[in-house]
Structures are given as structure tokens and as C-alpha cells.
């Protein structure tokens, strides 16, 4: 059964609701969406959330290759669980939020990978003035109202000059960035 058929079956349910037009740019739901970074500090895994993210996805289930997405991440919104450390993360050696208040991610195309609903997208991540191309695994799920995009991508602190070298002794280089993006499903 293709996605299209599934939607057709649900159409009567969705008709009374004002959903976005088919395959248009749909803004992410800020309440349901989440972006977190998991870092490991002397063996201790710590999950920190970015409290402010925005963006939109243009996705037609029939044409995943043509999907596009754009996200803005407020770099000063990372909450590592303690105000003192939140202030530290905003400093020059880390996110340098006064100079780089925003990180952006632009993704194009969803290539099917493996089983149904699993894709890989190529994205351009701009963070702290550096631009990197990264491949991101994405799973796409649908519920009655929403489309849900999930994935985890490893990011190297070194590649984005995050934290002065003194921190390497207590912090692992790889930070696992986990996203859960929810948009209203197209009608």
C-alpha cells in the first residue's frame, strides 16, 4: 500500500480540518518538535535540548526525492541542565552565540534506504560560521494529523570548533544530535 492510498482512505477524516495544501512548505509544530544534543562527559551521557527551533518542510510522500527542508536553530537556547553551564556554552569558545546566534540546516531530497519509511537526506549545516555537508538518516512516519521525521546524526565538536582543547579530556568529541520534527500532514 503506498502512502498516497493511505491518505486517500483518511481523506474524509481530514476534510473538515484546515491542513496545508498538498506538498507545500509546512512549518514545523514547535510544541511537538524537539532537537537535542547528547554529549558524553567522563562516561556520563547528558541530553541537552534546544528550546527554540523553527523551520519548514516541503514533502510530498509521492515524490520524496523532491523534498526540501529548512531549519533555524537558536544557538543560545541550548539547555544543558544548569544555568552556569548554559552561560558557558554561549561563550566564544563554544557556540559564540553573540556572533553566531543561529545555526541553519538545509536538506534536499529523501533517498530511500532500507525498509519502508527509511531515507537518507543530504544536508548543509551552517554552524558557528562553518558549513558542512552531512548525510542524515531520516525515518518518516505518519499519523492521522501529522508527518513525523526522526533521526540521529553524529556531529564532531572539533569540526565546528566547539570547546577549547582543554575540554577534550572530559568531553567526547562526538555529539549525537537527535531530531524529532512534526508537521501537519498534507491533505
Amino acid at each position: 500500500m503506498t502512502h498516497i492510498h493511505r491518505y486517500a482512505a483518511l481523506l474524509p477524516l481530514l476534510l473538515p480540518l484546515s491542513g496545508p495544501a498538498h506538498a507545500a512548505e509546512v512549518p514545523l509544530n514547535p510544541t511537538l518538535s524537539a532537537l537535542s544534543a547528547e554529549f558524553v562527559q567522563i562516561g556520563v551521557p547528558v541530553v541537552a535540548n534546544f528550546k527554540k527551533i523553527s523551520g519548514s518542510i516541503n514533502y510530498d510522500p509521492a515524490k520524496p526525492a523532491e523534498a526540501t527542508a529548512h531549519f533555524d536553530i537558536d544557538t543560545s537556547s541550548l539547555d544543558v541542565g544548569d544555568e552556569l553551564y548554559n552561560l558557558e556554552v554561549r561563550k566564544k569558545d563554544w557556540f559564540n552565540t553573540s556572533q553566531f546566534p543561529k545555526a541553519t540546516l538545509d536538506a534536499t531530497g529523501l533517498k530511500p534506504s532500507g525498509s519502508n519509511g527509511h531515507f537518507t537526506t543530504t544536508a548543509k549545516l551552517v554552524f558557528k560560521g562553518k558549513t558542512k555537508k552531512i548525510d542524515i538518516p531520516v525515518t518518516v512516519k505518519t499519523d492521522i494529523l501529522n508527518l513525523v521525521f526522526d533521526g540521529t546524526v553524529p556531529v564532531s565538536r572539533k569540526e565546528f570548533s566547539l570547546g577549547d582543547p582543554g575540554w577534550n579530556e572530559v568531553l567526547e568529541d562526538t555529539v549525537m544530535v537527535k531530531f524529532h520534527v512534526v508537521i501537519l500532514a498534507p491533505r
Binding site: 562527559q41 567522563i42 562516561g43 556520563v44 551521557p45 547528558v46 541530553v47 541537552a48 544543558v80 541542565g81 544548569d82 552556569l84 553551564y85 552561560l87 558557558e88 582543554g166 575540554w167 579530556e169 572530559v170 568531553l171
Partner: protein, 196 residues
Amino acid sequence: MPEKTTAVQPYTIVACVLHWLSAVLIICSFALAFYMVDLPVSPGKVKLFSWHKWLGITVLGVVSLRLLWRLCYPPPRQDPRVPAWQQRIANGLFLVFYILLFTIPITGWVYSSAAGYPVVYLGIKSLRLPDLVGKDRELAALLKQIHGVANWTLLGLVIVHAGAALKHHFYDRDGVLHRMLPILSTLEAKKVQGRL
């Protein structure tokens, strides 16, 4: 006048070792915490916090062993010359001590979990302690306070405890300190024999 130390029965060697081991660990952990809390954020501070947590979990282990040992091998009877009211106070203090000795490391552990930082003993990932609570900022703030108050209370009690032990040893000279430090009896015996 009878020999003053004859009525004293010492604790078992295991109980003595566990007592002094927990004393040393607690003093180190307390001093470390006192030094580290107000340090500015740095990799060094993160390291000290980890060491403090490892020390605290070690204290929890040693204190658990102590309690288990105490239940299997009850402490020797108090010196009958010590007045009953003093014995009651001493026993009450021991109970408060044990309550604090468990409360402090457990609140530290749960506080760490509530703050979103699981406790990983010695930094070995397979020795990660379970999170007894989820991430909860308000709970973390409350547990931090309890952890602090319990520690300052313990410090006060340790001063009273050590002060009382020294008073018994140097002023009353009743051998109470020998119960937890049997080596003193050996040293005194040697002194009497003129070998020291």
C-alpha cells in the same frame, strides 16, 4: 582504684576498619565538595564533580557494609560507668548518623539524576547507576538543598562526636576511644611493659 580501661570492650576489627575508612572517605568528599562548588565552569570542575560522585557512591557502599556488619555483629556493650542518659544520647546520635550517612549519598545520586546527569561510577559506562527519578529541575533544586543541609548537619554531629571521643580519652580517661581504636590499648600495654 581499678584500671580504667578494663571495662572497655572494643568493636570488631572489621567494624573499626569500616568506621575509619568511611570517616576518611567522608572527610575527603566533604572537603572536595566545599572546594569545588564555587569554582568557575572548567574541565577541572567537571572532573572534581565526577570524583566527588565516585567518592559518595563509595561511601554509600562502605556504609551499607557497615550497617550489614552491625546487624550481624552487634556493637559491644557500652561502658557501664557511662551514665544511662549519656548512653541514650549516644545511641540516638548513632541512629541520626546512620540516617545521614545514607541520606547524603542517596540525595546526591538522585539530585544528579534529576539534574539530567546520570551517575556513572568511576566513569565506566557499564557501571552506570540507574536513574531513580527522571530529569526534573525543581526536584533537582530541592534535592540539592537537602544534600547540603544534611551535610552541614553531619559536620556538626562529627564535631560533637569527635569532641566527645577526645573528651572521654583525654579528660575522663575511660578508654572509650579504645573501643573504636583498639591499637591504643596495644600501645598502652607496650608502654606499661616499658617497650615503648
